[in-house]
Symmetry: C2
Subunit: 233 residues, 2 copies
């Protein structure tokens, strides 16, 4: 099933972007009257009919739509970009497969990477969203620092920070409560700085373990997302 993406379809935008129009008309050779699918990235999938096969702005009309029922919880992971960019892209793809709702990136004091191409990441996310058949595109934002990202955490979240501390081995699986919204902070390859940890504790974050194994940053992010899914299974 070929799916296209138009985030503003419910705001009355009934044509595809230039990139997607070109792909639809020039590459896939769709024409007037053809039926295609369009996702809004918020869980609704539209079946539409092509009215004007313009390769720069393919116009369509809506035939029907279907919406996945609300899952009753929301997962946000705050994660530092990895040194190797592919690992971050991998995390985004896999987290979308698991139905993540929000991904915040921040540059920690010990982060080795200090730059991030959010546009490229957005394209990867859109591709993963289409592929996943869930049609949820997570909100993705980049923060200049851990403090900024921390301060942006909404008040209603269950707040966790994944930090290895043998004297406090409480597993996220046992600490998170079913339902509601979660934010979990995952540290960079160089781990959290001491003042970042202190700031998180002061902001009401609870230290949690993700298990006995040493995990890479991107694996820790995915595993945290999966644990919250399982609690809400």
């Amino acid at each position: 099933m070929e799916v296209f993406y138009q985030p503003d379809i419910l705001n009355g935008v009934h044509h595809l972007s230039a990139d997607e129009s070109k792909h639809c008309i020039k590459v896939l050779r769709h024409g007037k009257g053809d039926r295609i699918y369009v996702a809004d990235g918020r869980g609704t999938l539209f079946e539409v009919r092509i009215e004007d096969p313009n390769p720069k702005a393919c116009v369509f009309s809506i035939i029907s739509h279907s919406r996945r029922p609300d899952k009753g919880f929301a997962v946000s992971i705050a994660i530092a970009p990895t040194k190797n960019n592919e690992r971050t892209e991998w995390f985004v793809e896999k987290a979308i497969e698991l139905g993540i709702d929000e991904i915040n990136f921040y540059f920690g004091r010990h982060s080795e990477r200090k730059k991030m191409n959010m546009e490229r990441l957005h394209k990867k996310a859109v591709a993963a969203m289409k592929q996943s058949e869930q049609f949820i595109l997570p909100a993705m934002k980049l923060y200049d620092s851990f403090a900024d990202c921390l301060a942006a955490t909404p008040a209603d979240r269950q707040r966790f920070i994944a930090h290895v501390d043998p004297s406090h081995p409480y597993h996220l699986m046992d600490m998170a409560e079913k339902g509601g919204a979660y934010t979990v902070f995952i540290g960079p390859e160089g781990d959290f700085a001491e003042d970042e940890l202190v700031a998180a504790f002061e902001a009401g974050f609870t230290k949690v373990s993700l298990g006995p194994n040493r995990l890479r940053t991107e694996t820790a992010g995915l595993v945290a997302c999966h644990i919250l899914n399982l609690i809400n299974r």
Copy 2:
């Protein structure tokens, strides 16, 4: 920490392979008397002293060793190689991070990929094992067919097959019991063939769900491994 690999160290083989010797002596420029670490891939890490810095067979003597305590359960995933080989390599790396014990590959009736370079995969696995700091190299085997792989499952395993069936939505998390050894079959991109499913049920495998989301083959394999870790946390 630079770690080398010698699976036969407990059988009295006290030198590195040609590849690892070259890396140790020529690239890292270690010399006589230097202390390095050697893992046997079965959970034991040895601190050793270089006695003969031969770049073709670096000889060492053992100073000390440490062994991770037995974790009390064992996970085996039987999985079909993915069409895109990188996805299988990614699965192997991540599953090793999560401490997997055994990976069996099989070509299913609906598998798109019909070939697999096990030597390349072994090298990737050794690199991931060193990186993971757990020093467990999973046993990896390739079977020509689903039936062969099924027949090779030891009798003492808790047996599961991950198959999407809306009329039987029992989650692996609720079906597996803590402790012991597990085998979970993951289907190829084209899913299991009907006769493969029947054969699995006849062999005592229980159908399980891995959650409501449609997962790629390699994600399903990783998620199954993680669920069994969580049950045994």
